[in-house]
């Protein structure tokens, strides 16, 4: 019996080693370990063994079975390895073939610039508030210290609907609307469309966008205005950006300033981009005029504030080096895809 067992085992292991496919291996398994297999048959002939030898013989059979199974497991694993290697070799691809893209659409450069600006100011605790695009003359002009017949009304080339209602020429009327509500302190930015009677050309558009900023609180200073806009410029144009404030005049701020940033193309050395000056004019700003505060019901002895206005297209054109404003409103997909 023992010899038979040894023979079955040896032959099985030899067959296993000779097997070249999982199918061949399976045949060995069925023929040796299966219900009608040789080893199973041997186990069935246990009754021929003396009862006292049966446990030992059973142990032998089980050991042989374990050995065969182990050999089979090993052969199977080797075979899988070979198969896998073969498959991997066959599956080599040309990784430089074109990508399959989802073809996502693209955001308008104005919006990208707007979101940048919003991100910066929301991060500094400003709330985004919008106002109407068709606006009362009262808010667009009068409450901003631009009374009837003020030359600024001409200068800004306003589109009128009638005497009282205009297409807003600036986002500043939102300042007056919010101040008038009287929920102090105020920290807000207000982006939106504005309109001026300019013929369309490479640098003008009768419709464009501004972002207004306003802060009203106790003890707000011109130094705070400088600090805030300096942070803004560095965030928007890079940490090395320097700012320069020049005196200017706006009817609704006093003192007023224009802010230049060091040219982000040449770093301030002077180039074609900044017309050799090293600086690029970026926004107008100032301390909210006390008369404007008064007209909106705020006591200028108690509260001060600053305001600023940025031309969104100006930022977009500068930041993305777009040389013709008309491109922004043509919506040619070849243009939009670049953003």
């Amino acid at each position: 019996m023992k010899e038979r067992l040894q023979k079955i085992k040896d032959e099985a292991i030899a067959k296993i080693k000779a097997s070249e496919s999982p199918e061949a291996l399976n045949e060995v398994r069925v023929s040796v370990l299966g219900k009608k297999g040789e080893l199973t048959a041997l186990l069935k002939s246990m009754k021929d063994v003396a009862p006292e030898d049966r446990p030992a013989f059973g142990q032998l059979v089980n050991d042989a079975r374990a050995e065969i199974e182990a050999a089979m497991e090993e052969a199977k694993s080797d075979m899988e390895k070979i198969l896998l290697e073969k498959r991997l070799k066959e599956e080599v691809i040309d990784v430089t073939l074109p990508a399959k893209k989802n073809m996502a659409g693209h955001r308008h450069p104005n919006t990208i610039a707007l979101e940048e600006v919003e991100r910066i100011f929301v991060g500094m605790g400003y709330e985004v508030i919008e106002g109407p695009e068709i606006e009362y003359d009262l808010y667009n002009f009068e409450k901003l210290n631009i009374p009837a017949n003020h030359p600024a009304k001409d200068e800004q080339d306003t589109f009128y609907i009638n005497k009282e209602i205009v297409l807003r020429t600036q986002t500043s009327p939102v300042q007056a609307r919010i101040m008038e509500k009287g929920n102090l302190p105020i920290r807000m930015i207000s982006p939106g469309r504005v309109f001026r009677s300019d013929e369309v050309d490479a640098t003008h558009s009768p419709s464009f966008h501004q972002i207004e900023g306003l802060i009203i609180d106790k003890n707000v200073t011109f130094a705070d205005l400088k600090g805030t806009l300096d942070v803004f410029a560095k965030e928007l144009f890079g940490a090395e950006t320097k700012t320069k404030f020049r005196p200017h005049h706006f009817p609704f701020t006093e003192p007023s300033a224009e802010m230049d940033v060091s040219c982000f193309k040449c770093g301030g050395k002077g180039c074609r981009f900044c017309k050799g000056s090293g600086w690029i004019e970026i926004l107008g700003c100032g301390m909210v005029h006390p008369h404007v505060l008064e007209m909106c019901g705020i006591d200028p002895d108690e509260y001060t504030g600053f305001a600023f206005g940025v031309g969104l297209e100006r930022v977009a054109l500068l930041k993305y080096e777009i040389d013709d404003m008309r491109l922004l409103y043509e919506n040619d997909i070849r243009f939009l895809k670049q953003f």
Partner: protein, 806 residues
């Protein structure tokens, strides 16, 4: 406003800076220099030479050979084609290696033209004689220059000296951007005051003194101002025994440097004083003034008047006229009349320096259609106290130039004297506003620089009347800041309580809309809010449709931009057409923009502005692609109920069989469809185009970012497929309504997997197949429950006319 450095130096003699230093410092102290031009930038090695001998060129009829004494060494030989030079003439000579500003054509050449010795038709030439144009100027500015040929210096010019110097061209002209509040800086004296303050140099304005020649102005003229609102001050002086002549070179040069053409001494003096003091003046031939009388009154309606340029102009009754005893002689502040203008025969002259209401001049100038240098100054609102100084300055110059005899006295109609504004001096408030710690003394020092006096007893700062922009502490703070230096003010951040920055809910929803549109391949466009009224016809919108009630702009850029849009599609279709026209394939665009719906017309209150999320596409994709984008968006903003689509949207601009209103929770939130072929053709889109317009305010109402986890199903689902034949006109939406309503609680989902019309289906019917999924949250469903639900669904479908296919 342009000014030459030399003219400024006349009042700030110690000013010694380069053009760039001047530009930078003035800009930082609030007088922005836009740019500058060195008049001698392209002029090099040009000296005064004297022609000692002229010979004919042996080989060229039009050329001559000049021997020119240039002061040192032997005379040099120069060949020229100029017809006007004679022996003895003193002329500008550019020698070998020098440069001139322009070519022979009289036009300036950028970078100049280099002059080298060479041969002209075989004869050596060692330089060039220059015309005024070659020196970068013109006969307009140098009236003594010949019409064609070489500039010739007066006999007393010194040979061998710098010709550029002699012509006054070693100068720089600055272009200033003066802000509208600084009327005083529309004058050279005003700019010089700022320059002196900026560089902390002494300011020496002209000392005005008129000697007078006796007599009394009242013997010559009287003045009556009928409208003192529009003419707060009128000053008049008389000059007799006029001697018209060219003005002296220094005056001509200064005028030329700022672009004013010298004419004669009288004209030049008025122009000179207008630049110097910022006060326009007018000169009348007194002999043409009837009744020795000036009357300042408003024009009659439709009054006609011929201005000194010979044009007849029509007034209305808001235009202020200067008249004599009988007739109008000038439009106040704008232009004098032909009937009273100075001619070569003038004997006695009336000088007018007045102050007119700025707004009225501006509006009159528009009405009359005539804008002049004078009206440009007046409309800014001038200081009446400046008029007297200016007229006296002009009379002083008349005397200095020997242009006539100034009659003693001035007629001055000035009822309401403009007084200086007094502002309480509050240094601590100024520091609080600026965020600085500037001492009181330092502030007073800055005020002194710009002629603001300090009344110590009243503790008030007195703003001179030419500074009509100073009223209160904030204004003084700006003056302090300007001279302290904006760049010396510290940079800090606001100290107040820090707030939470935020984006309002509706903007967050808009932001998701953009994300989804882009995710689905749509790029963002932007189009104008105003468009042509023809848009309605292009979109086939019926004549009586409410969309045609659009707000009209009263002064549009043109008809194409004259109404505020009430539908958002024109911009989208135009943009699609632009792309189609440029052969861009598979274009998908979206826009987030307002439409403007008036509550009533004409507009008495602000219209409703409704944000429209407009999508448009052509190329790959169809109606259902667009529908997918819409549903993807609504799903992302928490609108989880099933949308329904009503094909009876009634949109004239969409394909009648391929359009739908999009309905959510019983409300129409937008519409979509294929663009009507006629409309597509009108716009020039040669492909099927699809659009969707979502009304954002309606959507924002229903959107939410709240989410709730509902658990993942633990019990198995059971799927039943059904296939049916229904009449063609039954909408899939109707079938789905039946399934949704009748499926009951255990209905989890359903999915259309086949729609078929064709050969195997009887005429007028279509085959529709659904996969319906049932599941209970709390148990495994039993067959009976499913059968019962299916039965209900099938009954419902039969009432739609469906026949089940087995």
């Amino acid at each position: 406003m342009n000014t030459s450095l030399s003219w400024l130096k006349a009042y700030v003699p110690e000013l010694d800076v380069t053009a760039q230093e001047f530009t930078d410092a003035m800009t930082l102290s609030g007088t922005k220099v836009e740019g500058y031009e060195a008049l001698d930038a392209d002029l090099e090695k040009i000296i005064i030479g004297q022609i000692v001998k002229i010979e004919r060129h042996p080989d060229a009829d039009k050329l001559i050979i000049c021997q020119v004494n240039i002061g040192e060494g032997e005379p040099i030989q120069i060949v020229t084609g100029a017809p006007n030079v004679k022996e003895g003439n003193k002329v500008p000579v550019v020698v070998d290696g020098g440069r001139v500003a322009g070519g022979h054509d009289g036009k300036p050449t950028p970078g100049g033209v280099k002059i080298k010795k060479g041969k002209l038709r075989g004869i050596e030439s060692n330089g060039m004689l220059c015309s005024i144009e070659e020196l970068g100027s013109s006969r307009e500015m140098y009236p003594e220059a010949p019409e064609y040929g070489i500039y010739i210096f007066p006999e007393d010019a010194e040979v061998g000296t710098d010709a550029i110097e002699a012509l006054g061209l070693h100068d720089t002209v600055f272009e200033f951007e003066v802000t509208s509040n600084r009327v005083d800086c529309y004058s050279i004296v005003g700019l010089a005051r700022e320059a002196a303050a900026t560089f902390r140099k002494e300011f020496k304005p002209p000392v005005v003194e008129v000697k007078g020649s006796g007599d009394d102005v009242n013997n010559y003229i009287s003045v009556e101002v009928q409208d003192e609102e529009l003419c707060p001050r009128y000053c008049a002086r008389v000059v007799k025994n006029i001697k018209l002549a060219p003005s002296p070179k220094w005056m001509q040069r200064r005028l030329a440097s700022v672009g004013i053409r010298p004419i004669n001494n009288l004209v030049d003096i008025t122009n000179y004083v207008m630049e110097e003091f910022g006060q326009p003046m007018h000169a009348y031939d007194l002999d043409t003034i009837a009744g020795n009388k000036i009357v300042v009154r408003r024009a009659e309606k439709d009054e006609k008047f011929v201005t000194l340029d010979g044009q007849e102009r029509t007034m209305d009754d808001s235009v202020l006229m200067i008249c004599d005893g009988e007739k109008a002689v000038g439009i106040a502040g704008i232009m004098g009349g032909e009937n009273s203008m100075i001619t070569d025969n003038v004997q006695t002259m009336l000088f007018e320096a007045a102050c007119f209401d700025g707004t009225n001049i501006r509006l009159s100038s528009k009405k009359v259609g005539l804008r002049t240098d004078a009206s440009g100054k007046f409309e800014k609102g001038l200081d009446p106290n400046n008029a007297e100084a200016a007229i006296n300055r002009a009379c002083q110059l008349i005397e200095e130039l020997g242009a006539g005899e100034v009659v003693d006295g001035m007629v001055d109609v000035y009822s309401k004297r403009k007084e200086p504004v007094r502002i309480p001096f509050e240094p601590e408030r100024i520091n609080a506003l600026l965020g600085t710690e500037i001492s009181k003394e330092e502030m007073l020092g800055y005020f002194k620089l710009i002629d603001l006096e300090y009344d110590e007893s009243a503790n008030e700062v007195i703003a001179p009347t030419f500074r009509h922009d100073l009223f209160r502490t904030a204004d003084l703070a700006e003056e302090v800041a300007r001279f302290f230096g904006y760049d010396n003010i510290p940079t800090t951040l606001p100290s107040g309580e820090s707030a939470m920055g935020k984006l309002p809910f509706y903007l967050r929803v808009e932001s998701v809309a953009r994300d989804i549109a882009e995710f689905c391949g749509f790029s963002q466009g932007m189009t104008y809010s105003f468009e042509s009224p023809k848009v309605f016809d292009k979109l086939l919108i019926p004549a009586d449709a409410p969309e045609r009630n659009a707000i009209v702009i009263s002064n549009p850029l043109g008809e194409d931009f004259s109404i505020m849009r009430t539908v958002s599609l024109n911009g989208m279709l135009t943009s699609l057409a632009t792309n189609y026209n440029r052969r861009n394939k598979n274009v998908r665009l979206y826009e987030m923009g307002n439409i403007y719906l008036p509550k009533s017309l004409p507009l008495t209150e602000l219209p409703e502005e409704r944000m429209q999320f407009t999508l448009g596409m052509y190329g790959d994709g169809d109606f259902f692609t667009m529908k997918g984008v819409v549903e993807e968006f609504l799903d992302k903003i928490g609108m989880k109920e099933k949308e329904s689509y009503d094909p009876n949207a009634g949109k004239s601009f969409l394909h009648p069989g391929r359009q739908a209103n999009i309905i959510y929770g019983g409300t129409v939130i937008g519409f979509m469809g294929e663009v009507h072929p006629t409309v597509a053709a009108t716009y020039g889109i040669g492909d099927r185009a699809y659009v969707a317009v979502l009304d954002m305010p309606s959507i924002v109402e229903k959107a939410t970012f709240d989410r709730k986890y509902e658990g993942i199903a633990k019990f198995p689902a059971v799927t039943r497929d059904i296939s049916m034949v229904v009449p063609k006109n039954v909408l899939v939406g109707q079938i789905e309504d039946v399934i949704a309503v009748r499926g009951g609680k255990i209905l989890e989902s359903y999915e259309l997997f086949d729609v078929y019309e064709g050969s195997q289906i009887k005429e007028g019917f279509k085959s529709v197949a659904y996969s319906i999924v049932f599941r209970a949250k709390d148990k495994t469903l039993e067959e009976a429950e499913i059968t019962s639900a299916m039965k209900k669904i099938l009954n419902g479908l039969q009432s739609l006319g469906a026949e089940l296919r087995q």
